[in-house]
């Protein structure tokens, strides 16, 4: 960390963030009261969280944020909420056989939650094993992390608004921040309101299906729980079988909402202003929608052709092979392309052809300004167009050709940043896969190459499920603590898009 950073200011504000995190714990507390389970756990968690927050706040009673302090604040906040988020897991798990009683596991689960990754180390996901309240907290962490903790804080805390644009830029996914309103507070509030609005609508539809008798197990608890993890592209589910536990009609409802979660939320703001064209003309949205449709279609054909021998095993295939192929393909692509991580089938058991399609989709990621992870569609667009330009100018050396997105010229410096980010992402992805593989060999954990790469990809891309034993119904439990901590790091830097965290380490402050 650079010498000139006023770390006290940053840490004091991290304290404020942590303090407010306690407020969100009221949600699982209410659940605990309703189900009469783990009430004390959440009372204690709230007390501890407020206490930690207050202590940290003492470091600086008038924090003043510069550029470096803002970077440090964003990076540390995500680390801090992940650490504090373990408190309910540790308290609830203490003295039980719960895998979350182990601090490393708890940190993994908490980080996986806030970063909307969705990778889990829970041994057995069921309300028999864990209280409704703890499982709801697990869901809630994803909802908080989706639109961004710092964005939420800017929306409610005036003192953060001063350097709000800098903070938001460090947290928001994508190469650049889009301001929607003259004041950054307005932008933060608009984004959270849209996010909140979609969540409410989604929960209402899910619960409506239940009331209409079309989704017997989608009760209010499940509707809210899945509402908390769909729009943030999270992927946690209190059901062991994820969305496969629900009827096809429910799965069809989930698909469009997962798709929406991967769209730049700023575009919906324009739609609300009556400017639908802004959404339809957006090059990233068009590519995202087009890529989703094409890849899903390819996958559907493969599935129809028998890539998934046991299609009928999961997901309630009552509608025949065609409907099932379509639904499974659309669901898995909507889930994996933008890093949600829900599943309606154990794709880890599919044929190599179908798995290759999924692996390809996982590389893409959501849109900039969405809640999705990964490299982001817009970066791939720029990378592809830049490569095309390079090829063209090789053949026509005199031609001067700027890279354009929907007619708008992309700055060469921005291109360099995007190229660097994408390369760094790939480098970290494969470098970490090597470390995970070596570490697993060290402890005697048998891992295939695909599993090692997918573990790395699923965590840095905030996707969740990988392949093989890490599939949608599998678990990351068997990794060694070293690998798990590496994955915690990958999830953390993956959510913050690598650069803010590394910039602090290197001392430079460039952001792609």
């Amino acid at each position: 960390v650079s010498r000139d950073v006023d770390w006290r200011a940053s840490v004091a504000l991290v304290g404020t963030v942590v303090k407010y995190l306690a407020v969100t714990m009221l949600v699982p507390l209410v659940v605990a009261l309703v189900y009469g389970d783990d009430v004390l756990v959440f009372v204690a968690s709230i007390a501890i969280t407020v206490g930690v927050g207050l202590v940290l706040e003492q470091l600086d009673d008038d924090p003043d944020l510069g550029t470096r302090e803002a970077l440090l604040l964003v990076s540390l906040s995500w680390l801090a909420v992940s650490v504090v988020g373990t408190v309910p897991y540790l308290l609830a798990g203490y003295g039980t056989a719960s895998t979350l009683a182990n601090p490393v596991n708890a940190l993994f689960e908490s980080t996986s939650g806030f970063t909307t990754t969705g990778a889990t180390v829970l041994g057995e996901i069921s309300t028999d094993r864990h209280s409704h309240a703890v499982l709801m907290w697990r869901q809630l962490t994803q909802w908080l992390g989706g639109m961004g903790i710092i964005v939420l804080m800017i929306a409610i805390l005036p003192e953060l608004a001063v350097n709000g644009a800098q903070l938001m830029q460090s947290e928001a996914p994508g190469p650049e921040l889009q301001k929607l309103t003259p004041k950054i507070v307005g932008t933060a509030r608009a984004l959270w309101l849209i996010y909140f609005g979609f969540t409410v609508l989604y929960v209402a539809i899910l619960y409506g299906l239940h009331l209409a008798g079309m989704a017997p197990n989608m009760d209010l608890y499940n509707a809210v729980a899945h509402g908390f993890t769909t729009l943030p592209t999270g992927g946690f589910s209190p059901e062991a079988d994820s969305i496969a536990a629900f009827r096809p009609i429910v799965q069809w409802v989930v698909i469009p909402f997962m798709f929406v979660a991967g769209v730049n939320f700023a575009l919906f703001w324009h739609v609300l202003q009556g400017e639908v064209r802004v959404l339809l003309d957006d090059p990233e949205f068009r590519t995202y929608a087009g890529a989703s449709a094409v890849i899903a279609a390819v996958l559907a054909v493969l599935l129809f052709g028998g890539a998934a021998p046991a299609l009928g095993d999961l997901g309630g295939t009552t509608e025949g092979v065609t409907e099932n192929s379509l639904r499974q393909a659309a669901f898995q692509i909507a889930s994996l392309l933008n890093s949600t991580g829900y599943a309606t089938a154990d794709f880890a058991k599919w044929g190599t052809d179908a798995q290759a399609v999924l692996l390809f989709a996982m590389f893409i990621g959501g849109s900039a300004g969405s809640t999705g992870g990964g490299v982001k569609v817009v970066r791939w667009l720029v990378v592809l167009k830049t490569i095309r330009r390079e090829l063209f100018t090789t053949a026509n050396p005199n031609t001067v050709q700027p890279v354009r997105l929907a007619g708008v010229v992309v700055d060469e410096e921005a291109i360099r940043g995007i190229m660097a980010f994408t390369l760094l992402y790939v480098l970290l992805l494969f470098g970490s896969a090597v470390v995970i593989a070596v570490d697993s060999a060290r402890v005697g954990y048998d891992l295939t190459t695909l599993e090692a790469v997918s573990a790395s990809l699923a965590t840095i891309g905030n996707i969740g499920p990988g392949f093989g034993s890490l599939g949608p119904f599998g678990s990351y439990l068997n990794f060694s603590p070293v690998s798990k901590l590496l994955m915690v790091f990958l999830m953390w830097i993956g959510r913050l898009e690598i650069v803010p965290v590394l910039a602090l380490v290197v001392g430079g402050l460039d952001r792609s």
Binding site: N398, V400, Q401, R404, V409
Partner: protein, 447 residues
Amino acid sequence: VVAVRVIVVGAGEVGTSIADNLAESHDVVVVERDPSVVEDLTYAVDVLPIQGDGTDMAVLREAGIEDADMLIASTDNDEANIVACGTAKTVGDVFTVARVKRRNLLATWRGSEGAFGVDFMVSSDLLTAEAIFRISGVAGARDVDTFAGGLVRMAEFELREDCGMAGQTVQEADRWPALTFAAVFREEAVLVPTGDTRLAGGDRVVVIGSPDSVTEFAEAVAEGETNDARDVVIVGGSEVGFQTARTFEDHGYAPRLVERDPDRARELAEDLPRTTVLQNDATDVDFLEAERVDDADVIVAALSSDERNLLVSMLAERIGVERSVSVVQDPEYVDLFETVGVDVAVNPREETAEEIIRFTRDGATEKVAMLEHDRAEVLEVELDEESALVGRPLSEAVPDLPESIVVGAASRSGTLVTPRGDTVLQAGDHAVLFAETDDVEAIVAVI
């Protein structure tokens, strides 16, 4: 507005040219900041030069803004020109003309007439670009202009010695019903053609008629050349070069643009999405051949120096480009360039002056095109009840007017009328006339 007293702000190339043009028939005051330019002007042109800033009220008063009929702001700075017009408007009932470079200012002004206190706005670079585009689209033409909202087209062609029309009489050559032979320039003389006039190689023929007939005429004159120049190469990323590329783009073409400076080339590439920008020195023959510039239909030389434009045009001819159009800043060079091998020389000052001059004429003059350095003009006039051309056949009306007048075409409520001896024009018609410049004042006074 019949302007008597005209104030020209800015004695740059365009400003001086306009002042010079108006000096004969009007009282012209020129406001210029640079004392040395003022000094030169005092002896060079018959105008009253005043040293000062045209946006300064005191200076404008000194120039007699209260009594002025017209103010032409023609400095190199868009904002200064607009402010000068706005300032003038606060004191006098003066018709203001502003010259601008930027197209967005022009667009704003067009969107709300009278904006900025500017009564008329021209962009010389854009006018030049449009002229280049018009000329490029008609094979073999030296000058092309449109009238009556596009209904009527005027074009000037030079007949080659081997051209089938050389040696024919006008009666034999005129095979197009909607076309009128308006004039023939032979050496220094202007001939008003009759049916018996025999055409010769080297004659410059002015025809006026429907766009289609002019295009067909062009095909007959310039055998083998293409009317639809698809492959256009523009050399030089000056403002004119940029506007030319833009104009071609706007009409659905994808031109190529050569610019030497890498930063400027990048800027152009960003602003011109459909243009292929090449960064190189256009006088490099290897480069021209490597990029197959020799296959181009038209090469437009739009560099900032006339000499380099000439060099590029001659190189283009050497490697076999069909047609070269060159921007020539110095009017003195226009003829010289056309003699040594440039097919068409376009002079930005002349294009701008054409636009502005009409406001110094009678209000009925809709449009003016100057030919052969203003030796003759083609003008569009809206006829009223009192006009000498209205109410009787042209065969009776025309002999009463100065000898050089030719009624080339007319438009009546959106349709083209091809004038013949028995045609009777009506009030409200727009007549497109050819006349020698010396006769224009007399003609405009009676029609």
